[in-house]
């Protein structure tokens, strides 16, 4: 990269709204507002929580009267870990921090304390999520300034990005293996799909899924 290009990238990252540090809390706020409102949907209509069945089940246990301790502790510890990690590596994990922390942990804390209003009102749920998101966004940018910004170290972010990229490559073969364990026709379908996609120089994962689905439609397996 030449010097001029480097300066252009620097300015783009610092000044441009879409890349800047100061706009990050806004993006977190919008996403958090949506996720918290998703939990409102679950509270009100029993649909629309942004999390896996097992984690939503913890909140459900609380709603059924079994206590909010598990959901609150689980959500809060995830939120704390992901904020610290996210600010240092440059990627905030939205699953642990926002979906589990804001979407499950905070509602469980509120409900445990007897505060129901933010979950009963749609508008209030958006506001609550948004405010929490802004706070988290600023905490992350703050930690970044204090750590990554203060020293010349990137704290091994390149190594982690490399590992993250490498793990994506495993997905295609894993899908074929998993399909082959599900049933013979589905396995054959995923092998053919993967092979065709590979020959077309396309990612193997996509072909393996499509092949498995196509054969699964003709030779269905039961869920039991």
């Amino acid at each position: 990269m030449t010097n001029q290009q480097e300066t252009t990238t620097e300015t783009l990252y610092n000044k441009n709204f879409w890349y800047a540090d100061w706009s990050f809390p806004i993006f977190v706020a919008l996403l958090s507002a949506g996720i918290f409102a998703g939990t409102h949907m679950y509270y009100q209509y029993h649909i629309g929580a942004f999390n896996d069945v097992a984690i939503v089940a913890m909140l459900e246990a609380g709603l059924q009267g079994a206590g909010y301790g598990a959901a609150a502790a689980f959500g809060a510890s995830f939120l704390f870990a992901r904020i610290l990690e996210g600010s240092l590596v440059g990627i905030l994990d939205i699953g642990g921090s926002l979906q589990t922390g804001i979407g499950i942990g905070v509602p469980a804390l509120l409900l445990g304390a007897g505060i129901t209003a933010p979950l009963e009102s749609f508008v209030l749920s958006l506001v609550t999520g948004g405010v929490l998101g802004i706070v988290i966004g600023y905490v992350i940018i703050g930690i970044r300034k204090f750590t990554v910004g203060q020293s010349n170290s990137t704290f091994g972010a390149d190594i982690m990005m490399g590992a993250g990229n490498a793990s994506g490559r495993f997905l295609g073969p894993l899908i074929v293996i998993s399909a082959a364990s599900a049933s013979i026709p589905i396995g054959i379908g995923s092998i053919i799909g993967a092979a065709i996609f590979y020959a077309w120089k396309k990612p193997v994962a996509g072909g393996a899924i499509l092949g498995a689905m196509l054969f699964g439609a003709f030779f269905p397996i039961s869920l039991d």
Partner: protein, 261 residues
């Protein structure tokens, strides 16, 4: 009337979530200089589809059926809506005319707008379709994609991150091993611990035991202690070594409102 209410709320939620996820995902490609938002696995999977619209679409589709089944059955979307469906479908939409990922997938503005549109459609659809999906497709999602994704998260990702830590130098390897092992014991997955181990190891490699790295190590240890406590790991460890858990510790757990059996 309730359905209309659900649809209107879903449109708002979908737009907010999609916008945030799209912008965050595109920003990940500029990390660590720009603070991104998503997950390492989302980044890896987006890269695995290599900017090919059909692959991005089919990858999202598989998880869409899973999310659909899960929301019909339990009212839970699965985390895949934010981690996989919205980012991959947004990428697929942007890249349909064979455009380069650098101009589309890596551009936060384009991804935010595409994500918002996809978010509205996906969230509204999932929240308003109470009828079941074809069981054959549901079965494929649950019996093929979920095991594959679970294998990726454990043990494949921990191993890859662990090996990367070992290869990155003595300090990263050492701290990665210690915190990775501890994370698997306490949290059930080694990746967060290995990531923190690499952070500390590389931080010390680059700038020595400065105030920043010391603070970092202290907060990581604090994090492990707190999450061990809140998951009741302290009681479990005492009992696993055939010892009696002291009453004051059990009472302390009760006081926080998290009772251990």
């Amino acid at each position: 009337m309730e359905l209309v209410e659900i649809i209107i709320k879903s449109i708002i939620i979908g737009a907010l979530v999609g916008f945030g996820v799209g912008a965050g995902a595109a920003r990940m490609f500029h990390a660590p200089k720009v603070q991104g938002m998503g997950a390492f696995r989302t980044l890896g999977e987006l890269n695995a589809c290599a900017g090919d619209a059909a692959s991005h679409f089919s990858f999202g589709l598989g998880f869409f059926f899973n999310a659909w089944a899960s929301s019909v059955g339990a009212g839970a979307f699965t985390q895949d809506v934010d981690h996989r469906i919205i980012p991959n479908w947004a990428a697929a939409v942007l890249m349909r005319k064979g455009k380069r990922p650098e101009d589309t997938l890596h551009n936060p503005k384009k991804m935010a707008i595409a994500g918002a549109v996809i978010g509205v459609l996906v969230v509204t659809f999932l929240n308003s379709t109470a009828s079941a999906i074809p069981e054959s497709l549901q079965a494929i999602a649950i019996k093929v994609l979920v095991p594959a994704a679970n294998l990726l998260i454990n043990p494949v990702m921990p191993v890859i991150f662990w090996l990367a830590a070992l290869d990155a130098g003595k300090r990263s390897g050492l701290w990665g091993t210690i915190f990775g092992g501890a994370a698997h014991l306490i949290m059930g997955n080694a990746v967060p611990g290995i990531v923190l181990g690499i952070l500390i190891g590389k931080g010390v490699d680059d700038s020595g035991w400065s105030k920043v790295t010391k603070t970092l190590l202290t907060s990581v240890i604090l994090l492990f202690v707190l999450s061990a406590f809140f998951r009741g790991f302290d009681i479990q460890i005492i009992r696993s070594f055939n010892l009696e858990a002291p009453n004051w510790l059990i009472d302390l757990h009760k006081l926080i409102g998290f009772e251990v059996k």
